[in-house]
């Protein structure tokens, strides 16, 4: 379980949000909403442990994530704005490296299956630099389809640059993850059609971070 306690984030002179608290349990999804520049990406990076909040703390299974950074990282998949693909490596090699670095090396069959789910298996042997923007996003997202999955997914605008088919595929994947007691945190501009027994929503536009369950 992920718990945020009175998080505060300031960038330069600006206070993006303050006193932000929430709890994210198994099978729940947290959707972070807000206008551009409201601090969505900053919140996600704080939740990954990449940025330390200017006040407050995050707890994973009751322990501050600061203390067990690597342990926490292993329970986490983060897909940010950047696809984290190396231009000179093939899609398959990229996926392989990503899996190995996150501590869960996978065999080629599983990786091809993951690429297949997002319809980019035919690009597996192509260097990432020749792929289109949408294809690159799909290769990055293929990390989510690699079993066994980490329990917590943190996704920054996962639907950007995806076509309808891939959006549906991702929604199915999210639903399956939630159904198997996974947790998802995401930001998105479009409405998500995901069946889950709880979708939490943090709206950073309302500065006092109203939190309501949908």
């Amino acid at each position: 379980m992920l718990e945020a306690r009175q998080l505060e984030c300031t960038r330069g002179d600006r206070c993006l949000f303050t006193d932000l608290s929430f709890k994210l349990g198994r099978g729940q999804m947290l959707r972070v909403a807000g206008a551009n520049g409201s601090g969505k990406t900053s919140l996600l990076r704080i939740m990954c442990g990449l940025v330390s909040p200017s006040a407050g703390e995050l707890r994973w299974q009751g322990r501050p994530i600061r203390d067990e950074r690597e342990e926490y990282s292993r329970n986490l998949v983060f897909i940010g704005h950047l696809n984290a693909l190396k231009d000179d490596l093939t899609a398959l090699e990229n996926l392989q490296c990503a899996a190995a670095l996150s501590g869960k090396p996978a065999d080629v069959g599983r990786m091809l299956a993951a690429l297949e789910r997002f319809g980019v298996a035919h690009c597996a042997e192509l260097p990432a630099k020749v792929l289109s923007q949408g294809q690159r996003r799909r290769v990055a997202l293929a990390r989510l389809a690699l079993a066994p999955a980490a329990p917590l997914w943190i996704l920054d605008e996962p639907f950007s640059a995806l076509d309808v088919g891939a959006v549906v595929e991702l929604e199915l994947l999210l639903a399956a993850h939630l159904a198997s007691d996974g947790m998802v945190v995401l930001t998105t501009h479009q409405e998500v059609q995901v069946v889950a027994h709880a979708i939490l929503r943090v709206d950073l536009d309302l500065h006092t971070a109203a939190l309501r369950a949908a």
Partner: protein
Amino acid sequence: MSKSGRFSWFYFSSPQSFYPLAGTLQPWFAALAVILCAVGLYISFFVAPTDAQQGESYRIIFIHVPAAWMSMFLYLVMGFWSGVGLVFNTRLSSMVATALAPTGALFTFIALWTGALWGKPTWGTWWVWDARLTSELILLFLYIGFMALQAAIDDQRRADKAGAVLALVGVINVPIIYFSVKWWSTLHQGASVSMTGAPTMAKTMLLGMLIMALGFWMYSIAATLARVRCVILERERHTDWVAAEIGAQT
């Protein structure tokens, strides 16, 4: 500088309460610096006798040695506050580290400059690449690198932390400077004042040098306090108390 920390660390570790304290203390340190330097200079020129070996040229020692001491000491203090800022995430200590760097760099420059002017008549050369001189020059580059790195990074928090890492890496250089004359056979003479053993200077000479060192110390504190006040105002400009303070000033 460290003065505030001693009696009430927690209260004065906030920039808001440190700012007026620094303002109150700063003139006192400045006055002490002026008095001590005046006394020190009087002793240096009118009480201390001529040196048997070097004649009057040795009188450069009264600024050279205190400046060299300050250059190393200020770097250590800067490294200390940088480390505190890095570990405990206290804004004020990072600000103090930032404020110390220019004064430290100036004293390093003074030590090098007066050393060159002292070396020419006594050794017969402005500069040699021996261990003491080279490592002191590296110290100057470290100060400059610290300031340049902080100036180049826009995000204040990152600038503080990156500077702190650099400052801590550079701390290795300070013992090298200090012990270089022991470890290597250098042209530079050994220390006249050391933690072990009696000083090898005539009493009045030593007195003049120590008083000058104390004067430089007070000067450094005064300059750092003045600078840290500017830094606090700049960095805390979004707070109400700085707005009120500026309103009162203008």
